[in-house]
């Protein structure tokens, strides 16, 4: 399988096929299932799919097995490999969705899986917001401003969310065979945007609305990074901390807990009020 692959939002990265990827990285630390890291390098090996190596923030090499499922290849490239590249660049791959208002203000909705981020993001697009990213948001700093980088034009929604929004599923692309998860096209922006607010959807069912202050902000950015366990073994901890501190200083952050138990319209109202 030698199809061309790309990494969304990282247009300078060329994914090359390399039939000679090593079984292990010299001196690497095993940090997860089939995942090992060395300085500024990550190697992921998934039986039945292949090997994936991300290095120095701009180099991706893959060695796919004959039977590799293209959906899994795409998931690995758009997930852990993309996150590794962003970490290696010293930027933050924040789990969540980013949107930009008509006035050019960007927000990032972050939090653990199932916290309601994508559903709220979709509701905001119905109110005129444009999508910047969904899944992993690349955040960096330009001067003293935190910036969200564009990468996706679709929001992933589960079938039940599509039904609640009255979206006709028949015309949508399934994210994966066998899963009732759909790629819903929305109005998207292709330009980096300054972040005015990062919302943490929390992990509790308990309703809360609390501004995050001081050190809490940088800690939250680290915790909500995609696969924070990659950071230290790739020797990216120092640059990560510096970037998290800069982002924390340059944008507001807010904990909005219990989103799953609220009406999505109410959540969107709250977010829009917070942005004002």
């Amino acid at each position: 399988m030698t199809a061309a692959w790309h990494i969304s939002g990282l247009n300078d990265v060329v994914v090359r096929h390399d039939s000679g990827l090593p079984a292990h990285l010299p001196g690497a630390e095993r940090i997860g299932l089939g995942t090992e890291a060395a300085p500024r390098t990550l190697l992921v090996t998934v039986p039945g799919v292949g090997k994936f190596q991300a290095r120095n923030g701009d180099d991706v090499a893959i060695q796919l097995e004959e039977s590799a499922n293209p959906e899994k290849v795409r998931l690995l490239l758009s997930g852990i490999i993309r996150a590794a590249l962003i970490h290696q660049r010293g930027n933050i791959p924040l789990t969540g969705s980013a949107l930009v208002s008509k006035g050019g203000r960007a927000i990032v909705l972050s939090g653990f899986s199932s916290s309601g981020k994508s559903t709220a993001a979709y509701e905001l697009t119905r109110r005129g917001w444009m999508l910047l990213a969904d899944g992993i948001v690349q955040i960096n700093c330009v001067g003293n401003k935190a910036v969200a980088m564009p990468s996706e034009e679709c929001i992933l929604l589960w079938g039940d969310a599509c039904e609640r929004f009255g979206i006709e599923k028949g015309s949508l692309t399934r994210h994966r065979t066998g899963l009732e998860k759909y790629e819903v096209p929305v109005s998207a922006s292709h330009n980096p945007a300054t972040i005015s607010l990062i919302v943490d959807f929390g992990r509790d069912m308990v309703s809360s609305s609390v501004p995050l202050r001081g050190g809490e902000r940088a800690d939250t950015l680290s915790r909500l990074s995609f696969r924070p366990r990659l950071i230290e073994p790739m020797r990216c901890l120092e640059i990560h901390r510096q970037m998290a501190a800069r982002v924390a200083l340059s944008t507001r952050m807010h904990l909005l807990g219990g989103a799953r138990s609220k009406l999505v319209g109410d959540i969107a109202d709250q977010i829009e009020e917070l942005v004002q």
Partner: protein
């Protein structure tokens, strides 16, 4: 302890939460606030663990694909921790589609297997889920029952294959590769101290009798009920009025019809007898129950 995971395994509503509270009070040396009870890597915390260690998030995988990676996720996790941990599960002892045990035996120190008379389970499970008892009886009879899974969405907790009540109980009673200590809920109530002594010994704790007594007292049902009433309990499902209800054995009395009791015994009688549970809702005293 070379294998750091202690499994607390049970069919739902069989005393798992109470046992976790006692063990955590024991470790802490004092009462544990209800909402400080950690998730013991069950439900949503298990999903967070999976997403942290696996190369693809659970939300992008099918249940079979998640199951296939779970044993390796647990093994990786076990290799990273330096102190024993409790892990709650409602899964039956089971193998993944490719034949691996879903919890790697090499990483499991032992299993505390909690069982409860199915009459009480039916009543408690129905209340817990905000359904009627016939619903619970039906679910308890379903072979290979899988909970918390929807095709059109991935709920926060990862799915569990709990099987039928009989299937779940039998899977832990015999044939699994683990060191299993089976404990009846009824004995936890009626012979509380010796039963928890047995649990404490099985998990490998060294604790004085006074400390065990303190942990038991700190988690008395009346205290738990009062605390839940005052501050709530985050593990209570939205459909349930209260997590801690009666808590007593034979709480089915007055709530199950003759037909419902007969139906449960018809489906699960053979396994009930192995645990000393009788068709009239009574049970053999601990001294006569063999769990064979």
């Amino acid at each position: 302890m070379s294998a750091p995971i202690v499994l607390l395994a049970s069919y739902p509503k069989s005393g798992n939460t109470w046992t976790r509270l006692v063990l955590q009070a024991l470790m802490k040396g004092g009462p544990v606030a209800l909402n400080e009870l950690n998730g013991d890597f069950h439900g949503f915390p298990r999903r967070v663990l999976f997403d942290d260690i696996a190369p693809i998030n659970a939300a992008d995988l099918t249940p079979d694909e998640i199951d296939e990676w779970l044993p390796d996720v647990f093994a990786q996790f076990a290799n990273e921790i330096d102190a024993p941990i409790f892990m709650k599960t409602h899964d039956a002892a089971r193998r993944t589609p490719s034949g691996k045990w879903f919890m790697p035996p090499d990483n499991v120190h032992g299993v505390i297997h909690l069982v409860r008379h199915p009459f009480d389970v039916a009543v408690s499970y129905a209340k817990h889920m905000g359904k009627d008892v016939d619903w619970a009886i039906d679910v308890m009879g379903r072979e290979n029952e899988m909970v918390t899974l929807g095709r059109d969405r991935l709920p926060p907790p990862l799915h569990e294959v709990i099987g039928s009540w009989s299937q779940n109980v039998c899977s832990w009673l015999s044939g699994s590769p683990y060191q299993v200590t089976t404990v009846r809920y009824e004995d936890m109530h009626e012979s509380t101290f010796p039963t928890f002594q047995k649990i404490v010994a099985a998990v490998g704790f060294v604790a004085s009798d006074a400390r065990i007594a303190m942990a038991i007292d700190a988690t008395r049902f009346d205290k738990l009920r009062e605390e839940e009433r005052a501050v709530g309990f985050r593990e209570r499902p939205r459909a349930s009025e209260a997590f801690f209800r009666s808590g007593k054995p034979r709480s089915w009395e007055g709530l199950l019809s003759d037909t419902q009791r007969a139906g449960i015994f018809e489906s699960h009688g053979k396994v009930m007898e192995r645990l000393g549970y009788k068709a009239d809702g009574s049970y053999l005293p601990l001294s006569e129950a063999t769990f064979s």
